[in-house]
Structures are given as structure tokens and as C-alpha cells.
Symmetry: C2
DNA sequence: TGAATATATGAATATCTGTTCATATGTTAT
DNA sequence: ATAACATATGAACAGATATTCATATATTCA
């Protein structure tokens, strides 16, 4: 009986040590992968996706978006805050109204690639 | 006093009717956008992102991945099931071992574009 | 056949996240 | 200054989700 528990043996042994060693060296930085997941999390919500698509055509104010997508003003505001914090949209004030528009050249390409995957 | 509540007036009026009408016509199908969000949800988890990056180099078995990423076998299995269900990875059995590898040509491009956004 | 190994899976739990509600902030017009 | 309007925000709540635990399945080997 070694120190390694029989029950979870697989947890502590590399079945293919050379493969694992090679992969480990080439893996990107841990923090980068974490940030990357956080970034994609933004696209993982249909409300935000719909807002982004709405803004593809032209800038819109909060109430336009709420009416267009049948959402409350509050819900839209909350989501816009997230999108803005992640530099996907930007805001411009005109009197009482605040217009939102896209602020990232990659967004369109990323979403298109997702669509491509869906229709394979 | 009209039927429209004063408090939520913005909810029921289009501030910019023409804009909203134009955008509504060009919006993609509602179901497509929902599926798209579901697809990106998969990338919104660092464990799954790490697994995908590990598989960029070469095929690996469940225990390799668990050891490499310091995760339990069970956690890896659960995530691989999700990745497989969404056709991002495929499995190949060799005796007791099951090797997983990437199964989508878009994954690499999508992740790269995410990285690009991060490093802007 | 039975023991050992590699992986899968259902249920429970804890955490995260989106929406709602109530309210605050900021701008315009009277 | 005050009312009306557009938007923002904090707290509470409900639903989703990743991990863990216990256990099942599948394959190999003695």
C-alpha cells in the first residue's frame, strides 16, 4: 500500500506524462484564461446578445432598447452597465437621453463566428 | 390621465420610433440569438476554457486533464460532457482510456479573438 | 469470474447571476 | 424652484450552474 489512495489513483497519476508535460509548457497564463472566460461570460446571456445586435444597426437610447426588446428600463440599464464596463458599448449623452453604441471592432466577428458554429 | 402609467412612461413609448422600426426589421431571429447565447455560455467558464486550451496541443484522457489542471476526475468528466454535447470536443476510446480532442474548427479562432480584445 | 482501473452520472450543495422593486441622480422646461 | 422625464443603482429574490459525493458502468487482466 503506497501513500496514494487507491480510490482516487487517477487523480494523482499522469497516465501520459510526456503529453501532460508538453501541454503544460504551452498553456497560456492562468490569469489570461480566467479573464478570457469572464469576457465570454458577457456573451452568454441572451439579453446582452440581443442588445448588442440591436446596436449593430445604429445607436439607441435605453428606452428604445427596452421597447424594442420588450424589457424593463431597469433590466436594460443593468446590462448596459456590464457591457460598458467591459468596453463593448459606449455612451453619449444628449440632454436627458443617453445613446448607446458599439465600442469594439471584434464583437461583430466574434458573434458571426458563433453563428457559423450553430449552422454547421 | 391616459391609460399609460406616468411612472413607467418610458417603457411604453418609443423615443425614436423610426430607429426602433428599422432595427427591429434587421434583427436576427429570436431563437438564433438565444442559441447563440447558449453557445457562448460554454466559453464563459474558466474550467472549460482551460480544458479547451489543453486540447489545443494534443488529445488527452480525462485523468491527464484532471492532473494537468488540478481538478477532480468528476469535475472534468462533467465539463467534457457539456463540451461534447455542444460538439466542441470528441471522444475516442482506447481500452479503459478515453481520449478527448477538439472537434470544431471555429474554437481556435473564437478564443483568439477574445484574447485580442483583452490585449487591446 | 472477480479485482482493478478509467470514466460517467445523479443528487445535493453552495455560489453566482439576472431581474425586479424601490429609489436616487441628472437634465430640461415651465 | 419645481415638475417631468430618462437613466442609474443598491438590495432582495429566484433561477441557473459548477463542484462534490456517492455510486454506476465499462474495460482489462489475472
Amino acid at each position: 500500500m503506497s501513500e496514494i489512495s487507491d480510490i482516487e489513483k487517477c487523480e494523482f497519476l499522469y497516465l501520459h506524462e510526456d503529453a501532460v508535460r508538453e501541454v503544460r509548457e504551452k498553456m497560456p497564463d492562468e490569469n489570461t484564461l480566467y479573464d478570457l472566460a469572464e469576457f465570454f461570460k458577457i456573451f452568454g446571456d441572451s439579453t446582452r446578445i440581443r442588445i448588442l445586435y440591436a446596436l449593430f444597426e445604429r445607436e439607441l437610447c435605453v428606452c428604445d432598447i427596452a421597447g424594442l426588446l420588450n424589457l424593463t428600463q431597469t433590466a436594460v440599464s443593468h446590462q448596459l452597465r456590464i457591457l460598458k464596463a467591459n468596453k463593448l458599448v459606449k455612451a453619449r449623452r444628449d440632454g436627458k437621453t443617453i445613446f448607446y453604441s458599439l465600442d469594439d471592432k471584434h464583437v461583430h466577428d466574434i458573434l458571426d463566428m458563433g453563428i457559423e458554429h450553430l449552422f454547421d
